[in-house]
């Protein structure tokens, strides 16, 4: 179970929308360090938190989270 990893694009979306880590944390009701751990992939959120993050950015959850690494920006694949 410890090997399970969920990849996410929270940092990219946050930078794109100009939202600080503390603002996102306040909107989600979590500690700002939790947002940092999420971005570093050191914590996988509950389904509830994942859905709330997607709702905050107004995108489908699969745009934010994936079981496979997201392609790098500019890559064709």
């Amino acid at each position: 179970m410890a090997e399970e990893q969920v990849f996410n694009r929270i940092a990219v979306l946050r930078a794109d929308r100009g939202v600080s880590r503390r603002d996102l944390a306040a909107a989600l009701g979590v500690h700002y360090q939790t947002v940092g751990y999420l971005e570093r992939g050191e914590y996988s959120p509950s389904l509830h938190l994942a859905l709330r993050i997607a709702e905050f950015f107004e995108v489908p959850v699969e745009v934010v989270f994936s079981l496979k690494p997201f392609p790098k920006l500019g890559s064709t694949s």
Binding site: R22, V30, H31, Q33, T34, G36, Y37, Y43, L49
Partner: protein, 186 residues
């Protein structure tokens, strides 16, 4: 809002203060703090052992006092710094924590529980061995019994914080720090 709520909110705010960060910025420093915290608990066990060996006596009272003061001198700053490092993960009520913190707290309690089981088993063995020769006539000074229970309680109380401090990964850098750093470089 109840007085407890007010107290917990104040504690939560205090644990967000950054003035103690230099004490626990790196994993090495946090683990040194945990080692110091464990040493403070060991002083309580030493206190109980001294009472068992030489209580009741004036020397036992003096040694108890010195060990308790030494324990408190280590305990207070170490626990304050560890609470700051873990942001109250082991000390605040669950309603002040988010899901990651609650999960980490449960993990810390699970490890602490395992350690506590070993401590209880070791204590049982030590008491059995120490009293073996005296058989049914064996006696333990009342002060020693009290101090052993006190040391057990304190160990049980402190272990989750020590485990949480030991396991804590380096927190993500604060964006304010990043911005200040970049401003400094520019």
């Amino acid at each position: 809002m109840s007085p407890f709520d007010r107290l917990h909110r104040r504690m939560a705010r205090e644990m967000e203060q950054d003035r103690l960060v230099p004490l626990h910025r790196t994993r090495r420093r946090r683990r040194l703090l945990v080692a110091a915290g464990a040493a403070s608990v060991l002083l309580l066990w030493a206190d109980a052992a001294v009472s068992w060996a030489i209580a009741p006596s004036d020397t036992a009272v003096l040694v108890n006092l010195v060990l308790l003061v030494a324990m408190l001198v280590i305990y207070v700053p170490v626990v304050t710094a560890l609470n700051s490092a873990t942001r109250g993960l082991a000390s605040l009520p669950e309603r002040h924590l988010d899901e990651r913190q609650i999960a980490e707290r449960l993990r810390a309690h699970t490890y602490a529980n395992t350690v506590m089981r070993v401590v209880l088993a070791a204590l049982g063995v030590v008491i059995l061995v120490a009293m073996w020769d005296e058989g049914e006539k064996a006696q333990i000074p009342g002060a020693a019994v009290f101090l052993v229970v006190f040391a057990l309680w304190w160990t049980h109380f402190l272990l989750p914080l020590l485990v949480a401090g030991w396991r804590l990964p380096d927190p993500p850098p604060d964006e304010d720090d990043d911005a200040a750093g970049q401003a400094g470089v520019a």
